[in-house]
Amino acid sequence: MKRFAALLLCLTVLGGCSKDAAENPAAVPLRVWVGDQADIPWMEQVLREFRAAHPDRSYDIRIGVQNEGDAAKVVLTDVEAAADVFTFADDQLNSLLIGGALMPVTEGADAVRSANTPESVEAATGPDGQLYAYPATADNGYFLFYNSALISPADATTLEGLLDRAAQNGKKVAFPMTNAWYLYSFFRGAGLQMQLREDGVTNRCTWNATDAPIPGVKVLEALLKLAAHPGFVDADSDAFVAGLKDGSIIAGVSGTWNAAVAAQAWGDDYAAAKLPTYQAADQAVQMASFSGFKLVGVNAYSEHVGDAMDLAAFMTAHDAQVDRFRLRRQGPSNIAALSDPQIQAEPAIAAIIAQAPYADVQRVGPKYWDAAAALGKIIVSGNPDNQDLQTLLDNCVAGITAPADQ
């Protein structure tokens, strides 16, 4: 009976060779991945306009959903079968480049560079200086939300002020301390470095520096103190939303994806601002952040790279970005779109712009996340084993800078 198994396999092989034979040459089949179910109406509208703009070509375009945060993972599992055009968060640019998944922007790169903010262009540029993706939004970073009924703008400039106000009211200030993405904020703000090495995989990290103006230990001490403050709560996005709804959270650090919930919960008192300062080594340290961009990439293995590039360019152009703001409240990276007064008036986008000078483009190797999250968890737990702070930082740095695949 094994001969039949062999036969089956044989058919398998034959099938593999002939699968692309039957294709309608008239319509160009393209698959595009948007990041969220809720993006679909927007994408459908863009597609209508795209078709109208290219009346001479016929397209057969299918829309799929793939969370921007996991896009690289899915694309790299099988690049050859992934969508022709996909949206991803800018931190995955390097993984995608190592996997050879991204087609460099070979047509109209200069136009893309000049139309979008320099930071977003930097985020879409590979180590070799080529542009590898089309910036789609510039709102994927984090900033401060607060309820202006309980917190004055002046209080909102310092973390201590926020925490004290919250504690007085029996409320909380939310910060996702156990999330490595946010923890970066404190260390980078204090001048300590964590960035990707030239190899594109491993990290360089100075969080354990003892000779810096603000040594790592001082930052950690400050964080332990903050985490123990009665007004502090370590809250992930879910907890933040829950806290907004039940009113227990009056300020917190999060991103535009929660802006609608905050606006709904606080109504006219909804306010957003750049991140506050915090006290470390007896000085006020401005919290830094990762800027975040959603990028649209073209699959280098696509059968129709040319058309895919047309589509990617179209869905990240000025009009599409403005539509994206209208329908999804997502902040554009397009300079012209950004100057729209209506967009500038949006508190979340204004906060993003205010935070921009303190934000870094996210270039992080894979070993950062778990190691930093563990440190965050230790901070939130109040250093339960009373470990030496320098040792904690040394371990964390050892984890962050470890070779990538061990």
Partner: protein, 282 residues
């Protein structure tokens, strides 16, 4: 006399009541959340403030909604029916062959099945994916059916155990009347083995409703219409969607659970006989 019997009876049923409550509370919460007004998990009170059918409507209407639940349901149903057919045939054939027949290579095959079962199931996932891809079967329901039913035969032991308990003399008597093995299998053994057939049918039918690991890699197009129920519901509670779609997720859970519960309750008897018949004497 009567009072002495009454007290243990009350305690006894009290204990049962507490346990049943423990076991049913989460299910109750599932149902309540699916009818509650909150979109995300209700965190303030156990019982929702108000009841609504909105989540069911949104889940079931394909227009304007994120989910394509009817499509997921149809996909899964198709996959489940074919998986069930192929798996049941595989399992019963293997069990019959291993239990009744003696042939060269039997021991080797049995040992191979034991060995295969010792590896974590999805270790070979990527390889399966590429085999299917080369056959052009990824993102097809046929691909899923192959994955779900292909390996079913290694779980033949329970069915074999059941067959082992069937008397051998029946078979020999049938031979005397000129029946061949096929007729024995079809006309004599299968009817006797009804509990184990039912058991196999139910468990293989259920598998496609529960699996999301294989489904997520094989149906990777990201297109909502291509998903199975498990995959689709799973996508409703990922990081981004949880706060918006948790109630719809619960509604989907309720809808899926209802036919399965009914199936379970009706088939309870067979199920018990099937499992025990097999594992008892196996």
């Amino acid at each position: 006399m009567k009072r002495r019997a009454l007290l243990p009876g009350i305690l006894h049923h009290g204990l049962l009541l507490i346990l049943a409550a423990l076991w049913l509370t989460p299910i109750l919460w599932l149902v309540l959340t699916s009818f509650g007004v909150d979109e995300g998990p209700n965190l303030r009170t156990f019982f929702p403030q108000a009841l609504t059918l909105r989540h069911y409507r949104e889940l079931l209407s394909s227009s304007g909604s994120v989910s394509s639940f009817p499509a997921w349901f149809t996909n899964t149903l198709i996959v489940a029916v074919f998986t069930c057919l192929l798996s049941t045939v595989s399992v019963l054939s293997t069990a019959y062959a291993m239990s009744f027949l003696r042939f060269r290579g039997r021991k080797v095959l049995m040992k191979a099945a034991v060995l295969l079962n010792l590896f974590p199931g999805f270790l070979g996932m990527i390889a399966v994916y590429f085999i299917l891809r080369e056959a052009g079967l990824t993102n097809t329901l046929a691909g899923l059916v192959i994955v779900y039913s292909g390996g079913a035969a290694v779980d033949y032991l329970i069915a074999k155990g059941f067959f082992d308990t069937v008397s051998r003399s029946l078979r020999e008597a049938a031979w005397l009347e000129g029946a061949n093995e096929w007729i024995v299998f079809r006309r004599i053994i299968l009817p006797l083995a009804r509990p184990i057939v039912v058991y196999t049918v139910i468990s293989s039918f259920l598998y496609p409703w529960m699996d999301f690991v294989y489904a997520s890699i094989i149906m990777s197009s990201g297109i909502a219409m291509d998903k199975t129920v498990a995959l689709g519901l799973f996508s409703l509670v990922d990081k981004v969607n949880r706060n918006r779609y948790f109630a719809q997720f619960c509604a989907g859970g309720v809808i899926v659970s209802m036919p399965i519960s009914v199936l379970f309750i009706i088939m309870q008897k067979f199920y018990v006989e099937g499992i025990t018949g097999g594992s008892v004497k196996g």
